[in-house]
């Protein structure tokens, strides 16, 4: 109450700045940012699961659900509303994660990773078979409308970009509040000592279950944005490499703050696009080499660079801003 939370301030100002900057950005950059924003949400889901020490290799499942939320609401109800699409995906992912959570909430470590991977691969295996999901060819997504407002073709990209940015802002701020709440601290405490958490009157399993659902909703929101941006949804969204990418985004950027996955995601998309442009035959090699370099030389992620820079600046600012509640 005393101070405005710096993270919230940065998110709101950043979203506003990006919204106004959009008309001055080339289309391919806009698309790249949209895809990065979309991918950062399931990565944020990975991050909040990692707060409890849980590594999910199945966030792609919710990316898939979110994307198909938009695609199927259009294909079967004829509605192309962005908000409704997001809500449909979120509702479906709450349902799925609610069920899946009963199975996975008792798993830890590599077994949590394996089971989430297996479940999402089962869904992938089904989706490539089912006409409902367009099989491996996927489904196309139309230009979206926003609560009855249908932007003209010239404004479609701007509208979608602004929508993506502010959806991220809402989910980013919500997640920030979630993580700085007592429940957020409880999640961190689970990795530290499950026994003590249980003796403090809270069920670790329920907490993990709830957190799984929250992460699922984040994943599905990202999926909806990805489908709206690419105007396409296909089963590869649930493939294990997609899920792996989300974890990697968190590794790149660290877990200090909800903004970290966004930076990680933008970095990864930029890296991929330049690697593909400069080395059409060897872009995977370049991508792999940079990944490896980050892991070897910045094991705490690129976010650690910010932390190091911040530490270097701190002595000069005697009256520092309120302490960040999220610890690295």
């Amino acid at each position: 109450m005393r101070h405005l939370d710096p993270t919230i301030l940065v998110v709101v100002l950043g979203a506003a700045a990006l919204s106004f900057a959009q008309p001055h950005m080339p289309g391919w950059v806009v698309y790249l940012l949209q895809i990065a924003i979309a991918a950062s949400l399931p990565a944020l889901g990975c991050m909040i699961l990692l707060r409890s020490g849980l590594l999910s290799f199945g966030q792609g499942l919710y990316y898939f659900i979110g994307a198909y939320g938009v695609a199927l609401v259009h294909a079967h109800l004829g509605i192309s509303d962005a908000f409704l699409g997001i809500l449909a995906g979120a509702a479906a992912s709450i349902l799925v994660a609610g069920l899946v959570g009963f199975f996975i909430a008792r798993y830890r470590g590599i077994f949590f990773a394996m089971l989430t991977l297996a479940i999402s691969m089962v869904v992938y295996g089904m989706a490539v078979k089912m006409d409902l999901f367009g099989r491996s060819d996927g489904l196309n997504v139309p230009r979206l409308s926003y609560l009855g407002f249908t932007p003209s073709r010239a404004w479609a990209q701007t509208s979608l970009f602004v929508f993506c940015v502010w959806v991220w802002a809402v989910f980013g701020i919500a997640t920030h509040l979630y993580l700085r709440s007592r429940f957020g601290k409880l999640l961190t405490a689970i990795e530290d000592n499950e026994t003590r958490v249980e003796y403090l009157g809270w069920s670790v399993r329920h907490a993990v279950h709830i957190n799984t659902i929250v992460a699922a909703v984040l994943g599905s929101a990202g999926g909806a944005l990805a489908a709206a941006s690419a105007r396409y949804a296909d089963p590869s969204l649930a493939y294990w490499t997609t899920s792996g990418e989300f974890v990697f985004i968190v590794l790149i950027a660290g877990q200090a703050n909800v903004l970290a996955p966004l930076f990680g995601s933008v970095f990864l998309e930029t890296l991929r696009t330049y690697a593909a442009a400069f080395f059409p035959d060897e872009w995977q090699l370049v991508l792999g080499a940079v990944m490896l370099a980050i892991i070897l030389f910045l094991p705490k992620g690129l976010g650690h660079l910010f932390a190091l820079a911040g530490r270097a600046l701190r002595p000069r600012r005697a009256t520092a801003a309120p302490i960040e509640e999220d610890r690295t």
């Binding site: 590599i110 089962v122 060897e282």
Partner: protein, 298 residues
Amino acid sequence: MNLALIILVDGISYAGWLFLVGIGLTLVFGVLRLVNIAHGGFYAIGAYVAAYAIGAAASYGLGAGPQLLLAFAGAVVVGGLIGFLVERTVLVRLYDHPEVLVLFATYALFLILEDVTKLVWGGASLYAFQPRNAFGTVAIGSLSYPVYDVATVVIAVLVALGTWFVLNRTRTGRCVTAVVHDREMSAAMGVNVSAIMTGTFVVGSMLGALAGAVTAPKIAVSPGIGVEVIVLAFAVVVIGGLGSIGGAVVGALVVGLARAFATHLFPDLAVFAVYAVMAVVLAIRPYGLFARPVARKI
């Protein structure tokens, strides 16, 4: 020939291959606690080296047997060398870090190895099928199977027995088992943990390359062959229990039989079968069929 027998034979034949593909992965996990995604890269390198060696040997007029020996030896040597380099230059710096970092390091290595094989051998397919065809076929029931495929199962059994023998009947093997059990304690007891870890990774890489070499004569060796293998190998060792040799045998049999069963009776579900079995096994036995659960501390 009745269907059950056909499914059994197909399942076992496929299981032999799956075991060869999975054994290196499970060995490395057991000792290094590391899910090695680069395993698929070693598989591909093994296949390429073998295809190249078979071509080279054939051009010198060597027969099918020497061609294969040269191919397997070449793949194992190259795989081992690259494994050694990778462990010494990359992995060794990461053992203090969280497991997931090492996992992604191996993923990065996989991407690099993929493109390196493409740079060395180009995008077009290589072929090395002559030695497989040279051995002819054998009839099992009413169907004929290549002798080479039967031999693959034999190689898988030999590798399984060999691994078992080394781990259980030799001094080195006992050191490895000790490291698996408790790394710190083994170090305290004078086991050279670092050497054991390097050695295991090298052996794991060799086994991955060997699996590729054994497969090379059955396929068109082309880009991307390592990707599918990762997921399959993964499923096999997870079902059996990560780090358990016996588990890899059982996992290979379960997946092999499931696939053969699905192909013959529910061909639409063949792809899906592997992941479904994996999910069901994990949901019932989180640690896989064979690995012991780690005791939870209080």
